[in-house]
Amino acid sequence: MSESAVTQAGRPVLEQHFADLPAQEEARKLGMWIFLITEILFFGGLFATYTIYRELYLPGFIQGSHLLEVKWGAINTAVLIVSSLTMALAIRSAQVGKRKSAIIGLLGITAILGVVFLCIKFILEWRTDYLHHLVPGINFDYAGPHASHVQLFFLFYFFMTGLHALHVMIGIGVVLALSYLTWRGRFSPHYYSPLEVTGLYWHFVDIVWIFLFPLLYLIGGR
């Protein structure tokens, strides 16, 4: 194994308890996949309760859903899909040994798209919902026929999108940290596993949204 494979920017990248770099990278990848399984079940508890209440109180859930703006949901989905593409391309750039600036650029776009997503979510959606008294437990006042079931719907809406937004925030933080490490020259075609596992996480967060979008915004024909 060449010197460059074992150290990067003067720091050893192979932890001493691993036999070689591929073993270390495979272990990290498997670790991230297992972490993603726990994430599936973390959101899964919410998906299960959501499924049951939605089946029990469909009319109320449809009404609640129609109070959301499909426009913002769809735009946000697109934003996350683009960010997934830039993330994948950033990893590819590291893999084939492109210039640092190219990698940092792509990571930067990914992070910015994450921020755009959050802005749309919090400022354009949550804030409006708050002004319309649709936040259960804090400011909820809805007079329609299925008020209590609309309340249940919004409870899930805030809990699920809130938990998802938290994941996006963590993702943005990690992506920014990786941009810094890229700038410090820590990654190369020999060693880029932190980028790779972060990519897995970012795509997973995208997938969660792919399900949240139809489940929350697209109930019943509009």
Binding site: L56, Y57, L58, P59, P145, H146, S148, H149
Partner: protein, 330 residues
């Protein structure tokens, strides 16, 4: 023979000091006990067999010197299959036994006398159909199937009568029910089995099983001025239910005569049986299960009436048009 008799007497004396089962005072208690005895015998047999075999091997094949080399033993697949399949068969047998017993006990007989139970921290309110109310006491007649319809004002409670081998959680916002038929006269404790707060262990009372005549006497002497259904009738008028559901002839509102004990079609096409839970839902949460063919919405009575009043209303609705049910059957 005589020795055996004496032994039996000593045993029954020990029984009184250390009983192994609670009183068996309902029709199902014996059946549950039989299964219990079978399982106990099964458990003791296997536990002692395993202990005995272990002990035997430990003694017979104890290590005699630190350098001894044990004899080779190959895994026998038939043996593995035997101790996989035989327990599986025994389990299947127990499963069908217990399940059939449970399923049979889960449905009250049609001629059951209904008594209503409301649990709240930390007391039991019980009410008979004629309006007689009791707190932490339940009088029932001997040899008559009794159905308890139960709900809670606050947290989850659980109504448990050890002597009858019945138990069911008592939930807020829902009706659950149990039934039993007492076979012994006497007084038997009932208690709350679901942790419900500080005085959980004091939330208990007694079932008093009486001869049917005595019970009828007790019931009439404790009857208040009004039965549950007449209280319900007053509420029905007072809350304004009557204007839409009985007097109205426009056809915009469902008429309630004879509705209890039927099936109705819901707006989403599903069919529902109109029982106590359905009527309760229709009062506190009217729009959750809208009926097919009606568009008018009804206000919710959530929070305006308590569980006892709800039960009164239901008792009244059940009396509406009970004669019609007989017609429909014919």
């Amino acid at each position: 023979m005589i020795h055996f008799f004496h032994f039996g007497k000593t045993l029954s004396a020990a029984w009184l000091l250390f009983p192994l089962h609670p009183p068996t005072a309902s029709t199902i208690a014996h059946r549950v006990d039989y299964l219990y005895y079978f399982l106990t015998a099964f458990t003791l047999f296997f536990t002692f067999s395993i202990f005995a075999v272990i002990l035997y091997f430990m003694i017979k094949y104890r290590r005699r010197s630190d350098d001894e080399v044990p004899e080779e033993v190959k895994t026998s697949i038939p043996l593995e299959l035997a101790w996989t399949l035989i327990p599986a068969a025994i389990c299947a047998f127990i499963f069908f036994w217990s399940c059939s017993l449970f399923f049979r006990n889960s449905r009250p007989p049609a001629n059951s006398t209904e008594i209503f139970v409301v649990g709240k921290q930390w007391m039991w309110q019980l009410q008979h159909a004629n309006g007689a109310r009791e707190i932490d006491e339940l009088h029932v007649p001997l040899h008559v199937p009794i159905k308890l319809t139960m709900t809670s004002e606050d947290v989850i409670h659980d109504f448990f009568v050890p002597a009858f081998r019945v138990k069911e959680d008592v939930l807020p916002g829902r009706y659950t029910s149990i039934w039993f038929q007492a076979t012994e006269l006497g007084t038997f404790p009932f208690e709350c089995a679901q942790m419900c707060g500080a005085l959980h262990s004091s939330m208990r009372g007694e079932v008093i099983v009486m001869k049917p005549d005595d019970f009828a006497h007790w019931l009439s002497s404790n009857a208040p001025a009004q039965t549950m259904s007449s209280t319900g009738e007053q509420l029905f008028a007072h809350l304004g239910c009557v204007s839409c559901h009985v007097d109205d002839t426009s056809g915009r509102y469902p008429q309630l005569a004879g509705v209890y004990g039927r099936q109705v079609t819901l707006r989403n096409g599903a069919r529902a049986a109109v029982d106590e839970s359905f009527i309760r839902g229709a009062i506190v949460n009217p729009n959750a299960q809208p009926l097919a063919g009606y568009t008018a919405s009804m206000p919710s009575f959530q929070g305006q009436i308590d569980e006892v009043q709800l039960l009164d209303l239901i008792a009244y609705i059940k009396t509406l048009g009970s004669g019609q049910k007989a017609d429909a059957l014919r």
